[in-house]
Amino acid sequence: MKKVENNKAWLLVLPVFLLVAFSAVIPLMTVVNYSVQDIFDTTNRYFVGVEWFKEVLRDPRLHDSLIRQFTFSFFVLLIEIPLGISVALMMPKEGRWSALCLILLAIPLLIPWNVVGTIWQIFGRADIGLMGYYLNAIGIDYNYANNSADAWATVLLMDVWHWTSLIALLCYSGLRAIPDAYYQAARIDRASGWAIFRYIQLPKLQSVLLIGVLLRFMDSFMIYTEPFVLTGGGPGNSTTFLSQTLTTMAIGQFDLGRAGAFSLIYFLIILLVSWLLYTAMQHVEKGE
């Protein structure tokens, strides 16, 4: 069949093009614009090329928070994915209990992020917080404001509490979509519980897990509000993640050129890691 060229069709793409331009391309370009200039005031600005990029990449502060950020995202995925899958597997398949579970799981997802931070900030306090008070009462010296390990544990726990539901809900819907015939066939084939999980449930969950892993990676890599409210990045810099470093640089110090370069690098890292995760999981799915 011969394709008919019709250039008027481009007009149909125009609305989308405009929308994307205003929502993504133009803001991104302003950042690119900042990143290649040194701006003193509205009249004194100098083109500096990739100087800011070079400087940012050599900045030990950035290195530290980058390492912290990767560690954080790594643990988030390591805990939340298996935990979310197990929760989904344990949920009742139907009836009022499953409805109740769904509602309970949805609650953390509905709470605003700064409220989540506040909840845990109070929850963990040794003087008035339920968790902090009782941990100390049973002899565990817990203080997230002083001890960086405690701070880390609390930030991680908070994220697990906040976001494991998302994975669980995704997996639950994935599990519900598996036809009964698969389970029946597995019973006929005398498959063990593990074999059913490994060869039926897990493969069928692959596509929802792909979405879950990507979402959780991107979100955890960009995390800002909750640790900011909970620990303010401390004690010291121990829970200062990339986004907070960036905010301090851009708004605190008004270092626009450096912050612009930092933003772009930050953006590229997320893009790259997401692409790597996506490709890796697609590869697994094809089973090559």
Binding site: A181, A185, R187, I188, D189, R190, A195, Y199
Partner: protein, 383 residues
């Protein structure tokens, strides 16, 4: 391998069954003998699949017992019953290769790789899956997937029975016949008890030695394909088996005589005495289209006469036993035979005639041979 005995078995999906309508399976007694090839034939929704799932253990019956070789297995899981079942739509393990799919049921019970490899290759050869053994199962065609599904049932040669739930639904017509032959061969080779559910009579009769016809949650007849054809024990069997199905007429039995559309039917004494003592609400007479004789000059009955003597001919036809004058409504020529639609009184019926026989339009005389005319009281055959 096992003999499967269903004893006073009944099943209802509702917790408080009230009357027949609530039962998917109405109380039945049935025996599938060891090593037989059986078909379970019936229309959609008659309870075939439920019965199959009860045998395999996927469904627990609400009443009665299932016995394997005399031992009750009601509370045993499919794993413990050691039963293989092939479902209507292919179920394959996506992430595994075809080889691993076939090996899966054997690996689950800890067979050695050497045993597995030999068995899998055997079955792959039989099902012509050798070329795709290394392929990922998810990349197969629907046909191949179903063959893999079947293969997973067939690799287990120690099973009590293999159950097939309309396994050829998704298979191309030209392959269907071939696969059915394959199953039959495998049955002959291993002598495994096989139960094959289908709604296709041709499929049932090519596969099975004996067919159980199910209707409304009951097995209404269990017999060879020939028995089902020649002596349907229930009007449903007559109607469902054969193409076209059996013709039925309202009958009446008065003063020890049987009438069809007001005309006397000749009946032997034994039959008369049976009819006299059978209580019934409705009486039907059935005859297969294949056994309806449409009388023409070549018919043996008229052949004896001098063909030109029309009066004598009419007199003979009027007086002959079980002969009826009918109206011809339609003649369909199907290439190798003819189906004639006729009308007797208010009842339409069909006759199947050889291709070469000509049928006059208007009216014609037909004869219902007494031995092929069956009497049904409340849908069940009086025999």
């Amino acid at each position: 391998m096992a003999e499967i005995h269903l004893r006073q078995l009944a099943h209802s999906y509702s917790a408080n069954p009230q009357g027949h309508k609530d039962y998917a399976i109405r109380e039945m007694d049935h025996v599938w003998e060891k090593g037989g090839a059986y078909a379970l034939l019936g229309p959609s929704g008659c309870g075939k699949s439920t019965l199959l799932n009860i045998i395999s253990g996927l469904v627990t019956p609400s009443e009665g017992q299932i016995l394997f070789d005399g031992h009750e297995v009601n509370s045993l899981t499919p794993q413990q019953r050691n039963i293989a079942q092939v479902f209507q739509f292919p179920v394959i393990y996506d992430t595994m290769s075809v080889y691993d799919n076939l090996a899966f049921p054997l690996r689950n019970v800890g067979k050695t790789e050497a045993e597995i490899s030999a068995k899998v290759k055997d079955i792959a050869y039989m099902l012509e899956l050798e070329d795709v053994l290394k392929k990922k199962a998810k990349n197969l065609t629907a046909d191949e997937k179903q063959k893999v599904s079947m293969g997973r049932g067939l690799v287990r040669d120690d099973v009590s029975a293999i159950l097939f739930d309309e396994p050829l639904t998704v298979i191309d017509p030209h392959l269907k016949w071939k696969l059915r032959r394959k199953l039959k061969q495998i049955h002959e080779q291993f002598n495994i008890t096989m139960v094959y559910v289908t709604h296709d009579q041709l499929e049932a009769s090519t596969f099975a030695d004996k067919i159980a016809v199910m209707y409304g949650g009951q097995v209404v007849q269990f017999g060879t394909p020939r028995e089902l054809f020649e002596k349907p024990e229930h009007t449903f069997v007559g109607y469902f088996i054969g193409s076209p199905g059996m013709n039925f007429f309202e009958g009446s039995f008065q003063q020890n005589e049987l009438y069809l559309e007001g005309q006397l039917i000749s009946l032997d004494k034994e039959m008369k005495s049976k009819l006299a003592i059978t209580p019934y609400n409705s009486l039907k007479l059935g005859i297969r289209p294949e056994f309806v004789e449409v009388l023409d000059a070549n018919s043996p009955l008229l052949n004896k006469l001098n063909s030109n003597d029309n009066d004598a001919k009419t007199a003979l036809l009027e007086s002959c036993a079980n002969c009826f004058k009918c109206e011809v409504l339609l003649v369909s020529d199907l290439g190798t035979y003819k189906i004639v639609t006729l009308k007797l009184g208010d009842t339409e019926f069909k006759a199947r005639l050889p291709e070469e026989q000509t049928v006059p339009s208007g009216s014609v005389y037909v004869r219902f041979p007494g031995n092929w005319l069956k009497v049904y009281a409340d849908e069940y055959l009086i025999d």
